[in-house]
Structure formats: C-alpha cells, structure tokens
Symmetry: D3
Subunit: 328 residues, 6 copies
C-alpha cells in the first residue's frame, strides 16, 4: 500500500494511509458530544487530526505511539492543515515500515557519520583521540547518537538531528581553525564533536521526542560532563589540565549563565565553539520557520517566539532582476 | 637615529627616542610641585610617561599630536611599564617617519585590500557590484577606508583595523555561503564588505583615535546607511527592494536593540552577517587581552570588562604532553 | 440609506447597514461545518462578525477591503459586542461614502493642519523653515501626512492620527520653550513637527492599517532620517552641524536603545522632544483604554498590556462631593 | 571684608576669604607627612582644599560645618579647581553672613513661594484646598519647605531647590490641564504641589545636605504619605476615596517599582504628574551638567552617570549662521 | 441533604448538591446557541461548570455569590474536571451552611490563633507589646484577621490563610532568634506577626477573594504601615526610632524594589523577616502545585507560572527502597 | 615573644611583631623613589603595610606567604589602619606558630565537626548514609573540609568557614523538617551537609584564599557533582533516581541560572536547601559588614556592594528604653 506523507498533503484531498499517533485526547464539544483530537506524525512532519463521529469507540482501539490507518479529508484550519478523520483502525505490522513514521534528518545518516569519523581520524592528540574513540567505537553509543534528536522542538528536531547539528558545528569549527591563527585545532574539533553529547540521555524518542527525567533535572550540559568524565577515568594518564579544558568547553558552550552555562567561555577555543554552535542553531531555526510557512500572500512569517521576531521572506535578486519589479 | 618601539621596552632600561604625544597634562603633586603626565604612542602601542622636574617649562614646548624626543628610564608601575622622563624636546621633522607612530594592523594593508577587491570582483549581481564599486573605485574613500580603525578601543584598534576586520568577516561569510545552502552569496558578501563602512566617518585618527561629533550623535550604523543611500541614488534602476535589504543588513548587524540595532536580523543573510561580525570582534578582544597580559605567574588575565570575564591562559597540549605535568 | 455606526450598536438590536471588511476567514466548526469570521470596520471603530449559515457561498462574493451590507444581530461575546450575520452582499458604490469606513481622528483634520502650519510660520531659522516647507508645501506629502495613522494599534490609530499626535507634541514643546530658559525654540518646534514623519511610509492604510515592508525592515526612525536627508540635500548651504542635530533628534526620540533609539537624547531639546512625545503617547493609551471599557460594575479596566497595568476608573470629586459617598 | 565666591575663582589667583567646611580629613602623604583634605562650600558651589604644611595643628582648630578664613592659591587639578591653603583660622561671627555659605536656588525664594500660593488659591475643591492649607498655612512647615533641597545630589541641590522643582512641576501640570481635556485640574495641581513633600523630612541641610535616618529607612514617598495622612485625619469629612487618590499619586509618582514606586500610575492625573516630575528632574540634570563643564575644547561633557550618557554642547543656530561654519 | 465536596468529585459521576457561584457568564456557542459558563466553589476548591440547555432561563434565576443546587455530570476537560449541569436552582437558606462554601485553611483557626497569642504573650518590650495588643485585643480586627486570605491566588488562598502564613513565618523567625546570636527577638517576632497585616484591607472575601480598591491603589505594604502608624499614635511615648524600625520592616519585607519594597532590608532582623516570609510563600506554592496535579502518569507537574518552572513529583526513598527500582 | 594581633591594633601605637605576607609589591612614589606596599595577615584579619625607606633592599629578603617580623607604627589612612614599617626581617621558624596567621572561624572547629557528625549519625537512608560516610570517614577529606573557607571573600572567609556555614545550613534545614510536613528529612539533611562540598577543591588556602584553576573553570557546583558521582560509583546498588535527586540538589542550590544554577530547584527539599543556604550567606554578610564598621558617628555603614545597599546600625530597644531617646 502506498504511504502518503504529511508534507505532500494538500487542502481538500482525501487520504487513506498510515500515521503514528503522537498523542490522542477525548474531548467534549460545547454541544456535549465527545470528539477526539490527535497529533499524527510520520517522517516528514506532524499534523492535527479530528474524529467527530464515534470518537469514544475509536478512542479505545489504539494507544499513543501506535501506528493507525485513517480515512480522512484534508482541511485548512487556522492557516494550517488538519485531517478530519472518518474512520481509523490500528495498522497491521506487515502494512508498515516503522522508519516511515519518525521525523528524520533530510541528510543521509551514514554519510554524515562517515564524515564525522573522518574528523575523528584527523585528531593527533592521543588523549583526545582516545576520548573520542571511547565514544565512537562503542556500538551502543553510536546507535543512540545516530538516532538522537538535537532538541525537543526549536531546532534539528528529528532522528539524526544531533548528528546533523554536531557535524555542521564541527565543519564550521574546522574552517575556523584555518581562519584564525594559533588555535588548538585538536581541542576545538574534539569538543565540537562532543559538546552536545549529553543530549543522547537528555532526550528520548519513543517515538515522539521528550525530555527524560534526568534531562529535566540535570540538563545535557551536566550529563555531557558526566559522560565525558566516565570515559576519561578509563583513559590512562589523561592529563588533568586537559580534562578541565574538556569539561569547561562543555560547561560554557551556551555562552552565559542566563542560557544555562554557569561559566562563560574562558579561552579562545571555548568562545569559538560557543559561537559556532549558536550560529548553527539559529540558522536551523530560521530555515525551519521559513519552510513551515504556508501563507504565500504575506512577505512575513508568523512571529517566531524562539528568536523573538517575525521573518522576512526575502525575494531573490538574481542578476537579471529587472528594475520594474521595484515598488513605485 | 634608531627608533626604539614601545613593545620592545623592558623594565630598568634607559631610552632616548621619539614618541607621538597622545595627551599631556600638567598636574601638581601632593607636595605642591607641578609634574607632567603624558600618554605616548608609536605604531606598536602606547605607554604612560611622567616628568617630575621642570615640568612646567617642558609643558609649553609641544602640543598634543606632536612627536617628541625623550630621554627616559623605563619603570614598572602597577604591573605596567611607564617612562620617567628626564628631558624632552620636539623632534625635528627629518628625524622621524610619521608612519612609525601610528598603531597599525600587523597585516599588510595592501595585501588585505587586494584580497578584499577579489571578493568584489566575484560579485555577479550588477547592482551590488555597482554599489561596491561606487565605494571602492573612489580613491578618496579607499584611502580613508584603508586608514580607518575598527573601533576606538575594544577591538581592531589601529590603522588598517577596519580593513582587517572587514576582510575577516567577509572570509567567514564567504565560507558560510558554501556551508549553508541557498544563501544569496552576492548579498551576504557585499554586506560583509559594507557592514561597518560608517566607521570611516564615526572615528577619526588624528593620530589618536576618537569619535567624531557625528560618530557620537548618530553612530556608524546610521552613517553607514546614509553613505550607502547616497551611492544608491546614483546607480540607475537599483531595485528598491534590494535597497531595503542592504539597508536592513547594516541596520540589524548588531543583532538586537540593546546593542544598537533597532531591528533584529529578519532574514538568513542578515543573521549570518551579524554572527560572523560578532565572532570576529570577540576573537580579537580575547586575542588582544592575552597579548596585553604581562603576568607570567598567574594562569589568569585581569578582568576583561568588554566581555565581562577573566580569561584562562590555556596551556598547550601537544601530542607529546607528558602526563606527569598534571596536578596531583 | 442610514448608516448605523459601530460605536452606536447595543446588545440585542438588529442592524441592516454597511461595513468595510478588514479581514475575512473561512473556518470550520468543531462539528465540521464551515462558518465565516470577519473583522468589520467603519470610521468609529471595528467589530467582529460571524456568519454561521451558507458561509462558503457568501465567502466568495467579496474581498478584503470591500464594503458590504449586512443584516445582523448584535450579541455580547466575552464582554465585547459581535455581529451574528444572517445575510450580506457587496454594497453598491452609490450606497456608500468611503469616508464613513475609515477610523478617523475625532478632531477636524483641516483645523489641525492649519494650526500646525501656523507653527511652521513661526520658525525663523531659514534652514529649518526651508526644511519644513520642503515637506509641507508639497501637495503629495501633505495628503499622505493628513491621512496617516500614528500607529498600527496602541495609540492615535486612525486617519489623522499622526497629525493629531504631531500637533499635540508640538503644542507641548512650544509651551516648554516658554517654561524653560535658553532652549532653541526653532529647533525644538521643527523637530516636534518632523519627529514621526517616517510613519507616512512605515504604515499604510489600505484601508486597514498595516506595516509596510520597509516599515518592518527599517522602522519609522530610520525612514524619517532618510526622508529628512533627501530634503536637506536640496536646501542650499544647509549647515552640516544643524543637519546632525536634526538627524539626532529623530534618532533619539524614543529615548533609549531598548525602545528603538540607538542613541539617547544628547542635548536638552532632544530630551524634551522625547519626553513630550512619550507623554502624549501615554495619555492617548490611557484615554483609549478608558473609552474602550464596557464594564460599568468594576472600578478597574482590563489589564492594559501596552502599559503593563490595570487602570482605575477614578470617580470625579467636584467641590460638592458629599462625604457620605466615602466607603464605610 | 569682601567675600570671594567659588564660582568666581580662576586658576592661579590668590584668595583670602571665608568658606564653610563641608568635611575635613587628616591624611598622610606617601612620604609619611600629614596633610589635610577639605571640601569647602559657599552659596555658589563647593571646592576641594589641601593644606600641605602644619596640617595637624590647623586640623584641631575647627570642626565640620564651621566657617573658616583661608589664605590660598587656586590651582588646577584633574580638570577642576582646588585651593592650596597656606594659612587658615576660624572666622569671627561678625566677619560673616551665614547665608553666604549655603548653596541656594538662583531664583528668588519669596517670589517662587508667592507664585505657589497663587496656585493654592486657585483650587476649588474644598478638601484639597484644606489639605494644602494645612501645610502651607503652618509657619514651621513653610519655613522648612522653603529651605529644603530637592535632592542630595543629582538635581535641584540647594536651599529652595524643593520649592523650585515643586513650582516648575506645578506650572507644567497646570499647562497640561489646559492641553488635555477632562483632567481633574484641582487634583493634579494639588498633587504637583504635594508630590515631594516628604523631602522636608528625608533630607537635612546642616548645612551640607544629607539623608536623615528616616530618609534612608523609609524614603520621601512613604514619609510624604504619612505627612498627608496626618493632615487628612484633621480635615472633617475628607472623602475616603479622594484620600486614596491623593495617597496613590504620591506613591506612584516615580512611575515604576524599579524607581521606587510600588504601584504604577493608575489614572491619568497620576501618569501626568509622574511625567511632569520626571521631565523637570531630567532638564535640571542636563542643565547642571552643562553648567559644570569647564573644558571649552571638547564639544562633549564628561560622562553623566545619573542619566548614563555624555552630553553634546550643542552650537546655537541663529538665523544668521553662515554655511561656512559647517565642516568640510 | 448531603453536601458533596469538590475535592471528592471523580470523572463520570452524577452529583446533586450545592455550590457557591464565584462567577457566571452567558455566552453563545459557535452554532449560535446560548450557553452558560460558571465558576463554582466550596470550601475545598473550585470547579468550572457548563449549562448547555435553557441557559438563558437559568441565567436570570441567581446572582454571583449566591449558593445554587445543581444536578450535573462530572466530565474531564483539558486534564481538569468540569460539571455539565442539567438543572439548577437557588438553594434555600435552610439547606445550606455558608461555611461549607468558603475555601478554608486546613488548620484549625482557633488553635492557630491561640498559638499566635502565645507569641504575643512572650514579647517583653512594652511598646511592641502595646502595639500588638492594640491590634489583637480589638475584637473587630481579630475577626477580620482570622477570616483573611493571604493572597488572591498564588499562596495561602483561603479563609485563615493570612493567619496560617503569619503563624508559620513567626515560628520560623522565633527559631532563627535561637539560631543566630544577638538578634532583637522581640522586634523580629513582633514584625513577623505584623508584616502582612495590611492584607486585611488589601483583600476582601465576598465570598470570592478580590483586591479592594485601596488594595490595588496602595497595596498591603503601604496599608500595613498606615495601620501601624494609627495604632502607634495612641501608644504614649512610643520611641520614634523604634517606630521607624517597625515601619521599615513592613516596607522592606518584599526584599527589593522589583518585588514591591522601595527599600531593601537594612538591618539583620529586616533581612531575616524577608527571607522567612519568602520561604513560607514558596513552600506553599510548591505544595499547592503538587496537590493540584491530577496526572499520575507523568513525573512532572504542569508549568507553574508563579515560580517559572515545572516541578518534579519526587519519588520517596525510604530505607527499604530496593535498587531494582532504578532505571537500567 | 608576644604576638600582637591585627584586631588589637590602635592608631598611633608602635608594634614589633610577626605577620604573614599575603602580597608584596615594589612601587615608585611620584617623586621617583621606590617604596613597598604589603598586605599582611594573621588569624584575626589583614592590614596594609608601607615601607618608605630602603624598600628595594627589604623587598628581596622574603616571598609571598612568608612570615616576617616588622617594626612599625600604626597610622590611620582613609578610615582604616595601616602599618608604616621601619624595619623588617623574615621570622625564624621557632619564633612563630603558623596557626597564628590564618584567619580562622571564631567557633571551635572540632566542636562544630562533632555536631555535624551527629547529623550524619541521624540519617537512616542507607544509601545517603553510605554517601556521607564515604566523605566523612576519609581522613584526607575531613582534614581538607575542616580547613576550607566557604568563599574567597563575601562570606565565611576563614579556615573552618565552610564547616561553619555547612553546619548552620544543616541546623536550619533540620529545623524546617520539623516545621513543614512530609519532607524527606534524610535527603534534605544529607544535601545540606554536601551542598558546598565542591568548595574544598574550588578554593585553596595557601595561606591566602584563592580560586584554584578548576575552581575558576568549573565552579564548586560542578566539582561538587563530580565528587559525589565518584563516591556513588563505589556504593553498591545506589538507586539511580536517588542519585539524580542528589545531583539536582547540588546543581540547583543557587536557585536560578543568573546565580549559577542552570536548573531551578524542582522539588520541595531542593527549594528549602536553596533558601536555607542563601539565608545563612546573607546573615553572615550583614554581620561581617557591621563588625567591620569603624565609624561610630554615623548610624550607617559604608555601601555593601555584595548586597547592594548600606546597612543601618540599629539601636537596641530593651524594655527600659526611655522615650526621651527619640529624636525631636
């Protein structure tokens, strides 16, 4: 059976296909009638669904994180699409491929991972290399790392999102080691790779993305330091000062206490890591906001709370832009 | 006669050489005796001077911005060097080369400028290219631009400092057009080159670096927009929307209103320009703070007010760092 | 046909009259039935409307900014009035007078403009007078200026609102030139007249009030400086220092960077202009909030987000207030 | 004997005249020798003094707040004048007139007070008039009020300063009752007169100006409410709601909690009082800063901490400004 | 008839019982049909109600603050319970006991009051004791004090809430007089008892809890000072410095100006009172948030706006916790 | 030989005794003559010293942290005492007892430690007890803990300061487990004891108190978590959720991110620990500020930067305060 993906839906069409249930809720209309509100997801995104008839009966036939098959019409509600579902049933396991239902990086995970490994290869400092290898030569960690999201929402929210963000940050840092003189390239690249490592334990994909208990109580910065400490314990003769630098770069990578780093970056590599990380996060937020936009008539997106501004859908100026396109 | 430069002075030596007078002041000791306090500069930096004897007589023999020849002893005062001057006289014009007395970028100005021109060459959008050429093919502007400092203090404070910072920002932006997809490379590179252009009128080097009146009243962001507007007026058929983008990128390049930008960056190229600019400024602040430090015993610099922290003089970890260097 | 105005509506009545469509939206009730939500306006204000029956058919018969004739009942919803519309059709052009549908200053525009002109007359400084005349003797500008609103919401939101606010600010500044000594009255009054001039391009009334693209990207402060610069270019021998003062007073009139002025007022006239402007804005916000209030039982208005407080509907104490009106 | 005033001193002159001692300190030079540091004042300002010889002997011959006769030379120290005192002795009471030594409003106190009384006369509301009279018909209060300073430093720092600021605020408020419609003029004018009344107990002039203990512990806002409450207790049938308005206007006149008002102004008269008060304070700060400036070469004053900016010594543009005065 | 309390309701049950009407509103469904929305309360809490049929008729049969008898079904709506009411009528006065409908401290009011009196008994300073007695030996005040709530929402929101919070704060302060040396125990305990006394006039229970007019215009801090001042006026020879200390401790008990105290605590007893008060408030907020929570599946409460965080529903670790409860 | 302690010195006396050198600096007077500036300390405090004669020769005879014997006169300089030193020499080791030179808690360290141990004894949860014992039954740790200061300046700055602050916080927490219901007393008391444990590595006394490198780079919160983690690794079957609670309470004990805690306290015990800690710190700051004060004439201390206020030297009101002590 053909899967129809969320990013392909258009207003007015009828779809009969499978989605994963992110959440379901049984509510009552003002007229006293029960209805069901769902958030459905697949690997291309998520969409709201409503069941107006027989909601209570349908409600008990599946759980959160199940995959269901729906027969629905796509409608426009408050500038976004939603599914008005006539019928639904749990999908058979042979109808579906679970990987279809996880939001997933648009880049190839194995290719990204190979590129990341080549950066690890390039490290010459034996202690830092040993530290990287202690993570990236352990199968269980690699599996978790590849699957991890970089955030619950806001940026790089998908399977492979952590890898994608880590690789992008590493590339920028690698470039900057060529741009600025006298940086400790091994240290900067190592920490670009490790700076967000705590996110594999801060977040869980089940398959919706949520904070774990330790994620909420401690945060990925503290967890990352703990993970690194555990590995360093087992690397013979790891220099204690180098250990402090490593821990400090994780600790300070959010830049200032208001953003979660109790210490500001106190040396050049720490400052650069913070700024490369932040740049990559902001670019992703803006790119996603523009991609989410569905209102072609306005040159402006909706207000983006994460960055406290609206965004301009900038027209492109190729060399052949003709002057009469200008106003007045 | 041999010039002895400020960055070569060491405690205890006697020097007989020329310096430019940044400022002079006639004061009275607590014992009621007049003495003179000076700030002297040459191309390698600046140093305080004191004249304890015959101060009043010496005081009237020269003006600010004159070059004088001093006979002095180098002493240590409050962790920094100062000159105790026995005798001084105005220098003869044939004794000196004015270029010896201006703090100057450590990079070759002509080479930097050539590289900047190659970026201009690469622009394909005819309007943006025309805009860049209207500045960089005008001899008077080019002369001012090459001579300008990027700031009064804080960062890139020297002749050529504006060029150095502009080139560095442009290089980073150029790299990012290869790193991130679908950026308007012409727009981003053009604005990297033009973002701080208002500084040629915000600051003056005379030869000490100060804000001009319009620099204080308007700031380089507004002046930069005015300069760009003036040029665009004379470029036929410059698209009015492109003009808004150009103006917005200057306006928003400080990132938020508290830092002087009444508008935040509202599209991706504006955000990236802001972050590339900010990164380059912060790297220069940290690099200068470490270079200024003269206390080899402490692993920490003095408190750096501009970035609100002390900095760690990070030890270098080469591959041959031996573990016994570690504490405990 | 008789127009019934929005500020005359009362709960329960039935109206058959014309309104301008500020916006329309076709939505779906929870029960899956389409309905239409409208914002309707006339010169006395705006009101929400709902069409519950045949919404889809009605939806296609008119566009935003059209005038429509409705047959509706006035109901109370969430402490405000709304129209439940049974029928509607586009109005014939001979049924309506467009001026009935624009929110409009409650003061006579021509009278206000005459008074403003008399302030211009009083200016003696020839450069400032030339600058004012270059605006106010240009017919196209005068038309736009008279029609402009001072804001999109918050304060002086109406045709003539900019003129009303400008005149009020000018009057206060004129008074203060008599109250405080040694002010440059010509400069202060000129800039009171010009301080918000950028709003004619920041906002558009079409006929609903919205930010233009340059309004969002640059803001009225920058646009105002550009407009003034353009005029000054054409005034022979306009003193360059006076130009800086003029530009600075526009730039600084919001008082501090957090409020959109990258420079604080740096001389007395600039400070006074900022405070006169701000006073007039705040008085209008409070006056409007009190006028909007429809809950006679509470001595307090709703929370006013723009000024972050609730307001007290102060009882009036005339000389004949009798003491028994006091509590307890 | 002729009194020479502080604002008449010029560098280099010798003076033999009387000053009041604001403070005295016996210190030791680095060479181990005792010297005395003094702050001297008269009605025109204050000046630093130094005694280099026989300091210990002179030190014991007078106390703070005594008037002494000095024989001194005027010198320039750190851009300000100071007195190097050779000899000094306590002044005889018949040599001096105490009023010569108090910093004093430049306006005539009795004239200002008469004008204030005319505003009181104009009040028609009998309760408010009774409240005003209960203060201003009490001889002791009037004496203190006329003598009070409006602040310890920052603004209106002088005998009569409170009266001067009160009158100026009242005039502006009176103007605004004509400018804006439907204000309760009696209430606004009454509270303009009473808003800072707590300052007569917050500050003491002895003859230097200092906070009292209750001034520090409670502040003039709370003290003002207490003073008003005490009077209202004795006005028969004073309406309790009017009392709340009166108290609220004192409480809220600093505008927001960060500036000492736990409540923001909650009705129009309170908002206007706050802004008229604030305007008058800021104008006085700027005027004083410009008057204090002694550096004719720079167009900028020193940094003014109270308003967080430097100020521009704006050139005056009379109608005859010739264009060649412009730069370039 | 049996009263069924709000904290006993469970989803799905049918209840026929009495509730007090906190507020009622007649609204229109999207389908144009009127319905009524109510907030009902009893001594155990509050709950939302909806009347879908015959809403308009029912609406006119009772007023806010009446007690009504409803026949309703308990449903779950948005994670909280609500009543869908079929029928309702005003309750007969002999059917109800008003005390059933006021939210009430879970501690015995008389017992708490007795304990508070024992603290008053312990005071030795005759002036402070007289001050306390002037309040707590006045029957009318005691009645109001026992009935008062400590806040409108946020913390200790109930009849007896002020007493409960006052007693808790007093106990903590009493403990701290034994923990820290050289505190003035009489002063600290007296002010712990009096610090929030202004709340008896800031809030009214009618029977829902609201700010009074003077509560909004002045706040309980100012009212508290006024109440204390009135009493002190009548205590012969009350030392004026002690009066300042008393007033200061009320004024500063919120700790800093942003939180409503124009003065920070300026001596040790004031600082300790502030912190004991704040601790007790925060503990109550957290305790209530945990008690309100109805979602047993999540270890986290909803976001708590008053303290800007989510809370962890910490598992209990008794000595017999077995290690296998740990994850992985 | 008799040691004369710093807190016993009085102006004018001559002392010949031993002090520890906290720092020494060779400077030049304005007259060009070298002199030495020293900070000397003993267990009762610290004092500045000056050597005016033969400074250079004396300078080379000792190092920082040596004990020297001085012959000096006590003088008053800028409201504080300083030593003018005529002669000095390094002390012989048999002349001195090192414990005389360390600032030391005024409480008996062993007694305090015994009390702390009794709290440890009282813990019933076996995992928490094992955790405490793993620290407090290790001799090396106990030695460091007893010797540690709680801060570099600000509060509890002395040998034993950490123990003193820890014990005080523990006592308060223990009291609060009796005051509030349903707290996990074992958890709260354990964490009161451990909350600042990272300070043994954040600070070093050598013998002056300074931040270590890891103290600056990581801070005591992170170090504390690392120390606890290391111990927990070796406690069999330590429940992983309990470990999270322990780590969270260290992490959150500064209350909010601006104060160094990336997470706010998320359950009741964490909130109470934060507030007990903060209370104890603030009480110590105020107590020290009052003790440091040497100006009996003013009722106010100097401005205390750490708590941003001046403090009132409150008069004591015993029952026998007579009313005539009141002002006026």
């Amino acid at each position: 059976m053909n899967k129809r993906y969320i990013n392909e839906l258009s207003e007015g069409e009828r779809v009969v296909t499978n989605f994963l249930v992110q959440s379901k809720q049984l509510l009552t209309t003002k007229a006293g009638k029960p209805y069901m509100s769902l958030i459905l997801q697949d690997k291309t995104g998520s969409v709201a669904g409503r069941v107006w008839d027989n909601a209570a009966e349908f409600y008990d036939t599946f759980k959160n994180n199940d995959v269901i098959k729906v027969d629905a019409t796509v409608e426009l509600y408050n500038k976004e699409l939603q599914l008005v579902i006539r019928r639904l049933r749990p999908s058979e396991s042979d109808e579906i491929d679970l990987s279809d239902f996880l939001p997933c990086s648009s880049h190839d995970i194995e290719e990204m991972f190979l590129e990341l490994c080549s950066y690890i290869e390039s490290i010459e400092n034996p202690y830092l290399k040993a530290l990287l290898n202690s993570f990236f030569q352990e199968e269980g960690f690699v599996r978790e790392f590849k699957a991890a999201s970089a955030a619950r929402n806001i940026h790089h929210v998908c399977v492979g999102g952590l890898l994608e963000h880590t690789l992008s940050t590493t590339r920028i840092c690698e470039y900057l080691t060529t741009h600025y003189e006298s940086l400790d390239a091994d240290l900067l690249i190592t920490m670009a790779i490790l700076h967000d490592i705590g996110k594999v334990r801060e977040l869980e994909i089940s398959p919706s993305i949520n904070y774990t208990e330790e994620g909420n109580l401690l945060g990925h910065i503290i967890i990352g330091i703990q993970m690194v400490d555990e590995k360093i314990e087992n690397i013979p003769e790891f220099p204690s000062k180098l250990r402090m630098l490593v821990e400090h770069m994780i600790l300070s990578h959010h830049g200032q206490s208001e953003w979660g780093s109790p210490r500001p970056p106190m040396f050049l590599e720490a400052e650069i890591l913070h700024r490369a990380d932040d740049l990559d996060v902001k670019v992703d937020i803006i790119t996603r906001a523009l991609a989410r936009d569905r209102d072609p008539e306005s040159p402006w997106t909706a207000y983006q709370k994460a960055i406290e501004r609206i965004l301009y859908k900038k027209p492109t100026y190729e060399t052949d832009v003709s002057p009469e396109e200008s106003p007045d």
